[in-house]
Amino acid sequence: MKFSDTSLARESRFRDHVVHFGVAALLSGAGLVHGAEPSTPAVAVPAQGYAAGLADSVGLRATVFGTPPQNLAPMPSRVPLVEINISLPWARPVPDVFWFDRKLRVWFSAQAKPAPLAIVISGTGSDGNNSKLSSLRGALYGAGYHVLTMPSPTFPGFIVSASSTGVAGDLMQDGRDLYAAMQQIIARLPRKVRVTEIDVLGYSLGGANAAVVKSIDAGEGKLKIHRAVMIDPPVSLFSSVGRLDRLFAVSVGSGDDAIERLYRRLYAELANLYRASDRVQVDEDFLLGAAATALQTDAEFSAAIALSFRVNLVNVFFAGDLYAGTGVVVDPKHPPKVGDSLEETQRKLRNMPFADYFTKVFAPYYLKRRPQATAASLIADNRLDVIGDTLRNDPDYYAQANSDDVILDQQELAWLQDTLGPRIAVYDHGGHLGNIGERQQVSDMLKMLGGSWPVPAK
């Protein structure tokens, strides 16, 4: 299947966050509360704090709405795009409820001449072709790279088709699965494609994944990955995620009642907006306009961000519970079939934070398989420090970060700066991923990948 990326660019922009829809998406996509109210009650900032403070509306707004179109770097008018669906030899039997995730789906854009290959890994829960990847793909393709975009190892499609455990979220394990999948994919690229060297990138969790993949490759040498660029990576997976859980707790609340309240407010808001509009249908344009109208306060931005993450978590949790047989919501002896309702399961999972995934699925699964491990060591293993020395000493690792990123605190940002030294660019805006595709971000990223990032003399 081939089509031009330009026709997809606009569409996939819509698809992006809400690739995970459902309640949360509906809620997160459009306004949550009284959009017209002038006051901006900031969400109470948890004691742990954020790099530049959660109450920074600009960062939150950027996180929700992304890079404003006028700030986007120019893109090539046409980017060829091929979808590759691949069965991996180590794939496990596909559970009935995941019948559609049998193959790993990645997206490839080929240059006509020999060129370096940039592999881009998606963020938490996201697939291999969303609006952020589109921006990055356009920039990289325009700069002369073959571009391969991959889903996150926490994307259900990856968990089912490519994970060797089914329990996603372990930095090294996910890195090994990604690395193995990359080898299979590269071996099956169209024959006329000539790759001169391989670089890896990723945004958010994908950034950490990219760095780990390069470090694994440094040992195994099968792909000879040259450079790695992390865009807005977490430093400690679990504390970043914990921060999003807290964001959920303060902006949405907990339990079914809180979600139902939010849903009801949103429904009323949308219904009234629709009445006041001249639309015939509740369509894309209407909803986007409604979202822009209704999402106004920090509390609303926070709820949107937190919900959007929670929707992803629900999928990871479900898959993990199913594969690990931990029985939290899936009866291991009677897994659901195609005709079975999952509404109740989804409702339960919606109310469960990441902490529950860790204690009820992740830790039991990995502790059983790693006799020396403890809960504390599992958490420590999921920090970028596991490859800290490599990051510090190997000049081929780079990062881009924003000082108002909601997933980092000040110490973590400082750690990144200290570890990477001149190989990190820190921007004063963008929140989390809200400046992807921006001129400065793109130009710096290309310099990093090309090895021309200015490293000032010490």
């Binding site: 829809f21 997160s28 996509g29 259900p156 629709y274 999928n315």
Partner: protein, 274 residues
């Protein structure tokens, strides 16, 4: 045929995204209080988060069938179709849009929204003549953009409730009412049989072309979320989207009854749909 109405919701789904598009300009005019015949919708008015779906088991199998059919046939064909030069595709799209205008004229009458009916009729006449058999949407250029409606909406105006959720083979998410609406629309088109297109020799080919045109204009791919909860999510969104539309219809109807002609005027001035 208003096959699009069903798939359209699918196009909506991704749109719920926050995805950076604050640039969309839609005017949400606040309606002056005296024109608002119905009180605003309050959170307490929102329907339950649960959806009435007594045929869930069957619906789920149909949903999977639709997903497989889409992957194996529909999507491939419509992707291949995308290689056709876009002016040609636009012509095809306009052609089918123009055919469905006839159904809109009738349904607007049934809904007693006569100005809109007249507008649809005007569009049909302009596009069939100046627009060369409907290949060009000349009316839109004359500030008369399309605002299609159908029998499902008419039934809603008549007070029929959506009824149980229903996944229709090939077509996708619907409700019992909208399903009846779809077949009503098809029956109307078939009955009127403009230019012998629906009963003539070319009807099968035309139906297929219409389906491909509709599909290629809908940005939805089954299970691109990878989520096992897609059935739940789509059901949730589809049903609420339709309820919000019904709600809007009622409000507009009531406002019209409250003798607020400026509102109807405005309605006509604005582009509807995309």
């Amino acid at each position: 045929m208003r096959r699009g109405a069903f798939y359209c919701v699918l196009a909506v789904v991704p749109a719920v995204a926050l995805a950076g598009c604050a640039s969309q300009s839609i005017s949400f005019r606040s309606v002056p209080a005296e024109q608002e015949a119905l009180p605003p919708v309050t959170p307490a008015d929102a329907p339950s988060m649960y959806t009435y779906d007594p045929w869930e088991r069957l619906n789920r199998f149909t949903y999977r069938f639709n997903a497989r059919f889409d992957e194996a046939v529909f999507l491939r064909v419509s992707n291949a179709y995308r290689r056709v030069p876009s002016p040609v595709r636009a012509g095809v799209h306009n052609f089918f849009g123009n055919l469905s205008e006839v159904d809109s004229v009738i349904n607007y009458v049934l809904q007693w929204r006569l100005k809109r009916s007249a507008r649809s009729l005007g569009r049909f006449v302009i596009n069939t003549t100046i627009g060369i058999g409907g290949l060009f949407d000349a009316a839109a250029k004359l500030k008369l953009p399309g605002a299609p409606t159908g029998f499902g909406t008419t039934l809603a105006m008549w007070g029929m409730h959506p009824g149980p959720y229903l996944v229709i083979p090939f077509l996708g998410p619907s409700t019992l009412r909208d399903g009846i609406g779809f077949f009503g629309d098809y029956g109307t088109s078939y009955g009127i049989d403009v230019a012998n297109l629906y009963r003539g020799n070319v009807s099968w080919g035309l139906g297929a072309a219409n389906a491909v045109d509709q599909r290629s204009n809908i940005n939805f791919r089954y299970y691109s979320t990878g989520s096992p909860f897609e059935y739940e999510n789509i059901r949730f969104l589809y049903v609420r989207k339709r309820l919000i539309e019904d709600e809007g219809l009622r409000a507009k109807d009531a406002a019209k009854g409250a003798k607020s002609t400026p509102r109807e005027q405005n309605e006509l001035d604005q582009p509807a749909g995309k």
